[in-house]
Amino acid sequence: MSMHGTLESGRLELPPEVMGQLMPMFLWLDRHGGIRCLGPTMAKVIGEDVIGTRFETHFKLGRAWSRREVGAGEVGATQGRRLHLSLLRHPDISLRGRAVEIGPNGREGVLLNLTFGIHIADAVRIFGLTEADFAPSDLAIELLYLREAKAAVLGELKALTGRLEEARRSAMSQALTDPLTGLANRRAFDLALDKAIAGLAHGGGAFALAHLDLDHFKAVNDTLGHAAGDHVLGCAAQILREETRGGDVVARVGGDEFVLLLRGALQSERLKALGARIIARLEAPIAVEGAVCRISGSIGIAVSSDYESHDAEAMLADADAALYESKRNGRGRCMLVRDLRPDAEVSQAG
């Protein structure tokens, strides 16, 4: 048989070897659906010894033809339309192509030229295909190339997104955290207070605002140094964290100044008990660098339900005034704004 195509009276004749070079995935079926001839890549996919076996033992027709018994006639009937197939042994691998009838009325059968669909990467792996197995006119290699290039680019983008997210979180928490104690900072507290105030207007829960100033802290700093002072602040922060609940906000807003936004039980007795507990724990001796520090705390507390107008400034100012009242009365105590001005609506008095 010649290795070249010949042209006789306007008809092109190509031997199977040449057909295989042009269309490595071609399949020639006889009129009963038996395989007469196939391209080299198709042989890698369905096997070398398939001559004479029937089409439907290897393939399943896709879409509208899927429910019918498949013979060469059915394949031929798709003539001129796109043909969709899947492999019986690998149902996930789809093929597509075109079928044309050979000879008058398809007497010589059907010629199919096929290529892989989007599952080409799986097909390449399963059948061990190389670039030589694809027709140069097939964009299969470009598809594989794009798949890997895309994966590399997405990998870079994903890594970039991860780094940006980490930087964002870190910037956020730096912007809202007091680096020494890990408590909220003034900015975070203002945001939480604004939110709580806004919540009041929409039926949100009442809250208390406690202003706490450490007593005798300056003496620690002056006699033992700043490192000791920092340690004491850390201990105080830990006490405040432990004495408050998850929904509460504890912030360090100055050198030895803290504010607490407290939710939940707001009866005077409860708030006083909390204040007393905090002060008692602050007064416990703190060991630092071989020395023992003794501090205390003064607290002033305002409760939102005592106010008709929801005014953060007024509450803060009143809590501050109550704190100084505590200091003036000998430190180490807790005072409620409502006890200092029992007769009037508090914000009006302030």
Binding site: V124, G128, T130, A132, E148, K150, V153, E156, R163
Partner: protein, 194 residues
């Protein structure tokens, strides 16, 4: 300049000469030691500064450094694989270079790689014209083509061959396309690599 270019130079310096050298170079050009982001863009002048600082730090001529960078690029497995998609042997690979820029644009539409044109002179003799956005791409391609010759197992002579105002030229003499087995290439991506 696309961040991928700067990031590649950064990786080259770090992988081949150590983190300490990279930190020194980054400080000289005022870049955070964390370095460049591959998916962002940077001023072209910064790339020149980066190369300048690297040539001083390594005390190597710019052309030699760029050749080494080209060879380094071909050694990165993901890039090596993408280059190997160019063809089954070195001959086909050479002819795929005309399409290299187009292929890179398919993956990254804003990547400003040089335009390449292969001139066939017969007898295994080729000339590659490199039309780069900045001078030096000819040297990079020289290093990259040499490394890919090893990868394909081809016996090839590759030299920088001058250039003109808008292009650089690389001469390629293909002595034997299948000189040894090379590194091998499986069209299927190794599982778990993606």
């Amino acid at each position: 300049m696309h961040g991928l270019v700067n990031k590649s130079i950064q990786s080259f310096l770090r992988d081949n000469y150590g983190q300490a050298l990279w930190v020194r170079v980054s400080q000289q050009i005022g870049v955070d030691p964390e370095g460049f982001e591959a998916m962002l863009h940077y001023d072209d002048a910064l790339t020149e500064e980066l190369l300048g600082a690297a040539t001083r730090a390594l005390d190597r001529p710019r052309g030699v450094l760029l050749e080494d960078i080209g060879a380094y690029l071909a050694s990165i497995e993901e890039l090596r694989r993408l280059l190997r998609f160019g063809g089954g042997d070195y001959w086909e690979f050479l002819f795929s270079l005309d399409e290299l820029q187009g292929r890179s644009l398919m993956a990254l539409p804003d990547l400003d790689l040089p335009d390449l044109a292969l001139e066939v002179e017969g007898g295994g003799q080729f000339r590659l014209f490199v039309f780069g956005p900045m001078p030096g791409w000819g040297a990079v391609m020289t290093g990259l083509l040499r490394a890919m010759a090893d990868d394909y197992g081809a016996l090839v002579l590759i030299e920088q061959d001058g250039g003109g105002e808008s292009y650089e030229r690389v001469s390629v003499t293909l002595l034997e396309a299948a000189f040894n087995e090379g590194r091998g290439f499986d069209l299927a991506q190794p599982l778990g690599a993606a």
